[in-house]
Every structure is written in C-alpha cells, then in structure tokens.
C-alpha cells in the first residue's frame, strides 16, 4: 500500500500539523512515511501545502506531480491541485470559501464542512482534525488508535490534555463526509 496525499490551504489552518499527525500515525503502525512542506516566505500567512506519503515500502520521491488524494482547504489550492489528482483518486474539500467547485468526473469528490462543524463545536482550532477524520473515514490508511498515539507522540506533554478534544473532532469528521457530484 502506498498513499500519496497533498494537503493544501491557508497558513494557520493546521495544514502542516494535520500532515504531521498523519505521518506520525503511519510510524505508529510500522509504515514508512514522508512529510514534505512547501517552505519559505509563503509559510508566513499565505498558502501552505504539504505532501504526505504513507507506504508499506521504501518511499521514493517525496515531491510529486500527481496524488492519490488531495485535501483542499481554499480556492487557490483547488485551482492548483484539482487537476493533479490521479484518475480514480479522491478529492476532499471544505466548501467554506470555495467559489469554483471541482468539476472532474473521473475522481471521487467528497465534502466536509470542517469550518462549520468546528464552529459548532466551539473551537476553530480543531478544524484540521475534523478534516482528517473525514479523510480517514474515506480512506482508512491509518487506524484511529494510531492517530491518537501519533498525537501523543507529536504533541508536547503539556498539550496532552487537548487530546480528548482532538479525538472528538476526528470522530465528528468521520461521521460527516458527503460525496459531492459535480453538476
């Protein structure tokens, strides 16, 4: 199994940390992982994206043109990455702030209203965990228990009290992805 994912959105949406938790979860179940961010000035406020690969084998290129899954969290990223999902692949997006919705019919498109659900849960910071939950429902590349282990490993101890909140967000995300069919 090799899963090649791009996660893209605004800086501050938790794009990089979502990728990091996913990668750590892969390690927890003895898989090979890579996490390759776009880095540089754009990190500071602009768009942010990270390529995460989880595999049972040695990982080749950490930088890719085409992905099994794209997780898209803003319009710029939609414009850039919709065309770069492999045929038969998956595009998961949050419709919040999206004006031009995806149009491809050779891939499966899912929506998760992460921003709305996070607001309903009273904590916008768990937005990324809701999206991650939705993704893991669609493609269970890592087990939920290993995500929790990954969270424990990647968060400093003083933040461990936040893990139940994150777990609730993951569960919320798992309950809510909806298939979206372009008109």
């Amino acid at each position: 199994m090799t899963e090649e994912i791009i996660i893209a959105g605004f800086g501050g949406q938790g794009v990089l940390s979502m990728g990091k938790i996913l990668a750590y979860s892969g390690i927890m179940q003895d898989q090979e992982v890579s996490w390759m961010p776009s880095y540089g000035p754009e990190m500071r406020g602009g768009t942010a994206n990270v390529t995460v690969i989880v595999s049972d084998e040695r990982i080749s290129s950490p930088i890719l043109n085409f992905y099994d899954t794209a997780i898209i969290l803003n319009q710029q990223s939609m414009d850039k990455f919709e065309s770069r999902v492999k045929p038969g692949g998956i595009l998961l997006y949050d419709p919040n702030g999206i004006t031009h919705h995806p149009t491809r019919t050779d891939i499966t498109i899912y929506r998760i209203e992460g921003a709305r659900l996070a607001a309903e849960m009273g904590n916008t910071k768990i937005f990324n965990m809701i999206v991650l939950g939705a993704y893991l429902k669609i493609k269970p590349v890592v087990k939920l228990e290993n995500v929790i282990l990954g969270l424990k490993k990647s968060l400093p101890e003083r933040y461990h009290k936040l893990i139940p909140m994150n777990q609730a967000a993951l569960t919320k995300g798992m309950e809510n992805p909806a298939v979206y069919k372009p008109a």
Binding site: A23, E32, G40, S60, P62, N65, S154
Partner: protein
C-alpha cells in the same frame, strides 16, 4: 532498535550530533538550515552531554571556531547553506591544509549569489572539487533520506578521524526540511580528555608536556619544497579514500539498458521515475553515488558495454554529469536533465527526459 521519531532532516542531523558524542557545534543562522542551531539550542546539549553550542557572529567566525576546537582533538561540527558555505571556504581550505577532522553540512539552496531559499544541488563542484584555494579534497557524503542525515554524522566523524580530513555532508533544502521516520542511535559518551590525548597527542594542540615537542597546527610552509611534500602527503590520503571508502547504491541495475545517475534529493525523485518507467517496460536502473568524493568511478565504469545511455539527474545545470562522463570514459551517451535555481524536477519530467534519451533525442547536453 533505536528510538523511532518523525523528524526533519535538519533536526535529525542535530539530534544525531548530540547522540554521536560531538563536543561542539558552531554555526550561524541561514535558511534552509536554521533548524539545526535552533534544535540544538532548544535541546540544551550542554546539559545532556556537555556538548558546546555557540551561535557565532558570522560564518567566518563559525568555521574558525571549528578550526580552533578541532585543533585540540575535539569532535566538532557545523552546518550552513550555500552562501554561508562560500564564506566557510577560506576556513575549510585551512582545515584541509592543517589536516583537521571535522564534519560540515551544506544544506544547499539555489544560487548563484543570494539566490533562493529553495532546494538545489548546484554546490556539487564546490564540494567535490575543492571549493576553497589550493589542492585539497573533502570527503563528501550525500544523504538521500532523513535517516541518512542522522547516520552520516557518525559515519562522517569516523572518516574525518581516519584521515584527519574535513568531511562534508552535502544535502539540500528538500532533505533538510522534509520529515521522515528516523531511527536514532543510543547516546554515545563524548570522548574523555584522556581518550583524546591517547588518540591525538601526536598532533593536537592540547598543551606541550615534557614528553614531546610542541604541536603546531598550521597550513603554512614558506619553503615550497616542503609544501610540495605536504601536498604529496595529502594526495596520498585522497588516493586511499578512493580505494577504501567509496560508497554507492544500485537499484534495478542488473538488467538495465539505461541508467539514471542521481544523488541525494534527485535520487529520491528518480526512484519514482524508475517505478514509472519500469511500469512502461523500460529497463532502467538507478545508480546513486553516496560518496560524491571519492566518486564511484570504478563501479560506474563497469556499465560500459551494458547500458546504452545514462541520464544524469541533478538540480543543477550539469555538474555531476562531468564525473559520470569521466567514469564511463565518454563511451556511453550521457545526457543531463535537471531543474535548478531552486526549482525541483518532478518524477514525470525526469521520465520525459529519459524517454527523449532513449528515443535518440537530446536533452540539451
């Protein structure tokens, strides 16, 4: 099995330094490798192992602090990125001339000049052909994963002390900034002063006792005949490295009609190309030099008669290709492909270039 962690390449090199029992690190901030110094400061290695970490006032000072500490037989390392490494060159030449062991990592970014902060492999010539003034060589290791970033610290020191020669870890912003699973080795104790004395009392400046003449660390000899003799001695070391310490990796090369030769980040990208090409029925192998100096000349030379073409894939305008051409005595059609200036080629672009080569086309060189 050591501790498993998800780490950036830059963090791995820093953690590996602490665990390898390194005595001192001197550095100066520069993107994309500032995480090394940041990580070390965060970790407080002075308390963990007694390792000294100091942010110097400049790269000029940092490399000369390395020179000073290495002069006393201590395990010392530094890291920087391309413009900073250019400033290091004076010190590196002195270190090579004075025969001091140390490890220097260059997390390469696009150039020339201030360039970009994105990954590049354009410092290949500088690393492998000298870089500073005079006839000297660095032993150059090119990691292709975060794991190798960690492992090459200790490997580097082993070579540095075997030859009393500076070792460079030549990597780039891609490996430096990406995170992968890394297995960390257990903590090694730092050498005691007694151990260092036993090992290095014949040359290190640790204080002249009555038992020996004074030790002098210098690269100066105003007598040209003596300077030539010293150069002969240095060259002998480099020949020995070429005999004993060449490293490379071959993937799917046995039945290959074509080879991609690539190191570090480019070799990772090329691995993906390999999969794509093999799926299309192209018999291509990947030859990855792990030591860029000494370059695996003999290993590559063996492909004369076997392969019909070689694609040199590098994030530079064509530097590695010159060593490949030397290795195969220009008897194989060698072409260059690569993005540069901070751009990274994709596996698909590399595949396209490979197909151009196979179809008798020319990739521009």
């Amino acid at each position: 099995m050591g501790e498993l962690k998800l780490m950036k390449g830059n963090e791995a090199i820093a953690e590996a330094a602490i665990r390898a029992g390194v005595d001192a690190y001197f550095g100066y901030p520069i993107t994309p490798q500032s995480e090394v110094l940041e990580y070390l400061m965060q970790e407080q290695p002075e308390e963990r192992t007694g390792m000294v970490v100091l942010q110097a006032e400049s790269e000029l000072a940092a490399i000369n602090m390395v020179y000073g500490a290495a002069s006393t037989g201590k395990k010392v390392m530094t890291t920087s990125s391309s413009p900073g490494i250019s400033l290091y060159q004076e010190g590196i030449s002195y270190i090579a001339g004075a025969e001091l062991p140390c490890v220097i990592a260059n997390v390469v970014r696009g150039g020339p000049g201030l360039g970009t902060i994105q990954p590049s492999q354009a410092d290949y010539f500088q690393a492998t052909k000298g870089g500073g003034h005079g006839d000297y060589k660095l032993y150059v290791l090119a990691p292709a994963s975060v794991q190798e970033m960690a492992d090459f610290v200790e490997d580097g020191f082993n070579i540095a002390y075997k030859y009393r020669n500076p070792v460079m870890i030549l990597t780039d912003g891609m490996i430096g900034q990406m995170m992968e699973k890394v297995e960390l080795k257990d903590q090694k104790p730092r050498w005691t002063d007694e151990e260092i004395k036993k090992m290095s009392d014949s040359w290190a400046t640790i204080g002249k006792g009555n038992h020996r003449e004074r030790n002098i660390i210098t690269s100066l000899d105003l007598d040209s005949a003596k300077q030539e003799k010293h150069n002969h001695h240095l060259q002998k070391k480099y020949r020995q490295m070429e005999e004993e310490d060449v490293r490379f990796e071959e993937i799917n090369c046995d039945d290959a009609d074509y080879l991609i030769v690539a190191y570090g980040s480019s070799s990772r990208i090329a691995m993906k190309t390999l999969n794509l090409a093999r799926a299309k029925g192209i018999r291509v192998g990947l030859f990855r030099p792990i030591t860029l100096y000494p370059f695996p000349m003999k290993a590559l030379n063996k492909y004369i008669g076997q392969v019909k073409g070689i694609l040199s894939v590098e994030m530079s305008a064509g530097q590695l290709i010159e060593d490949i051409m030397l290795a195969v005595e220009c008897k194989i059609n060698v072409q260059h492909f690569g993005r540069y200036g901070g751009m990274i080629h994709s596996p698909d672009e590399v595949l396209q270039a490979l197909e151009t080569l196979i179809n008798g086309g020319n990739n521009g060189r």
